[in-house]
């Protein structure tokens, strides 16, 4: 979904927006796949009634959106050869991260994991950016068969990852490098007021929506 509007609050890849939908009380938090001065792109999977409603919207619909939420990825820590890992819907925010890293002259290796070939998205876009792209599918219907960790090696300076929590944990265990991992949680407000999405870290309680969704590897309590 492409949205026109004020994107001035978005400062980093890995941030999210929170979308108000007619007929639903809670907003829907969705990660930003990419943005520019007046446009933002979100890529979401229809998993429930809220996202089903979003997919029924017609071009020109107007939405009330809180933008620039969350801390996002810190590209200054990437080193010279960062590894980007995305799983399923977690591939989406890695696009803007890859774009920003490449614009800084940093080579990017992206591993994108999907269940099956039919779920693959952003393949051409990552390649057009100039990222080295490895695709894995759990059923082997495209690319390398297996999980993202099956495509990992130790030739990376840093890890950026977004995806289901079991994937994040497996990636974290498979890499000796430092990294940043983006988490999901059911949210109330999305901006730090309600304490609905708290998690434990080595440095105390953090709010996924405000202090995250990106956590440093060394602070994560699995």
């Amino acid at each position: 979904m492409l949205l026109n509007g004020d994107t001035g609050a978005i400062t980093r890849p890995g941030q999210f927006v929170n979308i108000r939908l007619d007929g639903f009380f809670l907003r829907r938090p969705i990660s930003v796949s990419d943005w520019d001065d007046g446009l933002l792109c979100i890529i979401y999977k229809v998993v429930g009634r809220g996202t089903a409603y979003m997919s029924s919207l017609l071009p020109g619909a107007r939405l009330d959106i809180l933008t620039g939420l969350g801390n996002g990825f810190d590209v200054s820590k990437s080193g010279s050869s960062p590894l980007l890992v995305g799983g399923g819907a977690g591939v989406a925010p890695m696009y803007a991260l890859a774009r920003v890293l490449l614009s800084r002259g940093t080579a990017v290796h992206m591993i994108a994991g999907f269940n099956t070939a039919g779920e693959i998205y952003l393949k051409d876009e990552f390649e057009a950016l100039g990222a080295e792209l490895t695709i894995t599918t759990a059923d082997g219907s495209f690319g390398r068969k297996g999980f993202v960790t099956d495509a990992m090696d130790c030739r990376h300076s840093y890890v950026y990852a977004c995806g289901p929590e079991p994937m994040l944990k497996a990636v974290c265990n498979a890499s000796a490098a430092d990294g940043q991992y983006s988490f999901e949680e059911r949210m109330g407000c999305g901006f730090g007021a309600c304490m609905g999405c708290t998690c434990k870290t080595k440095y105390g309680s953090k709010r996924i929506c405000r202090d995250g969704p990106v956590l440093e590897k060394e602070e994560i309590v699995w």
């Binding site: 809670l26 059911r186 109330g188 407000c189 007021a193």
Partner: protein
């Protein structure tokens, strides 16, 4: 020119709008968005004697016209609130703040309330005896008139500032609990806390919330809150702070006509962080529409 001021236990509020505890943190998330001095005051996050992590996640579930939460009184503890949160708050909020206090024993309520009572920034103590999401505390005190009166009396003796007791809707007769708190020395009551509720994920065949049950809030509970404020107004002579699903200036007027002297706005803050500021801006227009010159005059108007 309309007059939106109301009196709350001897302190004049510029308007009756009070962001509710647990939806406004300790103020500064909202201070980044607008001048938080515009509401009458706000009630800060429920504070206990010791730091609390709260309940496991998921803590949030959606409902038709509302939401369930089961946060479980996450807070940094009263000492950290006094040494860290209140000094930070002082930089962005110059009015007296409402200190929301929770606990697991009468002694704990007394200790936390008296520590906060001695803080110059605190204008009122709001005693939360109605949290549905913790075991052995909160609502355990607020669902019986005798225990509600006992904790109210104990805290009343220990604090000098106005004492507001926050009541649970999860009772058979809220008016009798309100009356017991009034008799025990409460200066005001606030109601309603959330309505005990539950959702099940039919795909997982399991409760949505890790704590199984949670508190329902949002527009869904507004008529329940209006009914309970009405009943409590008939039973007590102390001021009532009405809350539960308020999301518009019209809702504010309705709640005040049911008997509220002031109102709290809760979950609406989580959906629209600008809601309190917007309601305050709309109030004069809505007052004019219903020929209200002095807002405080409509408290209980529907009873006459």
């Amino acid at each position: 020119m309309v007059d939106t001021r109301v009196d709350l236990c001897g302190i004049t509020l510029d308007n009756p709008i009070i962001p509710a505890s647990g939806t406004f943190g300790y103020g500064y998330e909202f201070a980044e968005l607008y001048d938080i001095n515009c509401p009458g005051t706000f009630s800060f996050k429920g504070t206990t004697a010791s730091p609390r992590y709260g309940n496991p996640t998921p803590r949030i579930a959606e409902a038709p016209s509302g939401m369930l939460n089961s946060v479980g009184l996450q807070n940094p503890g009263v000492e950290a609130v006094i040494s860290e949160e209140l000094p930070k708050l002082a930089k962005v909020f110059s009015k007296p703040v409402m200190a929301n206090v929770s606990g697991f024993s009468t002694e704990e309520y007394v200790r936390t309330a008296s520590l906060l009572d001695s803080q110059a920034q605190v204008g009122w103590i709001e005693l939360n005896i109605s949290c549905p999401n913790v075991h052995g505390g909160g609502a355990a005190f607020g669902t019986d008139p005798h225990t509600a009166a006992a904790v109210t009396a104990a805290v009343r003796k220990a604090v000098r500032k106005p004492l507001i007791v926050k009541l649970s809707p999860n009772v058979a007769d809220i008016a009798s609990i309100a009356a017991a708190c009034e008799d025990a020395g409460a200066d005001a009551v606030s109601l309603i806390n959330t309505v005990l509720a539950m959702r099940i994920d039919i795909k997982k065949r399991a409760p949505v919330l890790a704590n199984v049950t949670g508190g329902l809030c949002g527009s869904a509970v507004f008529p329940i809150a209006v009914r309970m404020v009405w009943q409590v107004y008939e039973a007590v002579s102390i001021p009532i702070i009405g809350m539960g699903g308020i999301s518009s200036a019209q809702d504010v007027v309705e709640m005040m006509m049911a008997g509220a002297a002031a109102v709290q706005i809760g979950s609406a803050n989580l959906v629209d962080p600008y809601i309190c500021r917007n309601i305050i801006r709309q109030l004069p227009e809505v007052m004019a529409e219903y020929s209200i010159d002095v807002l405080s005059n409509i408290t209980g108007a529907a009873h006459r």
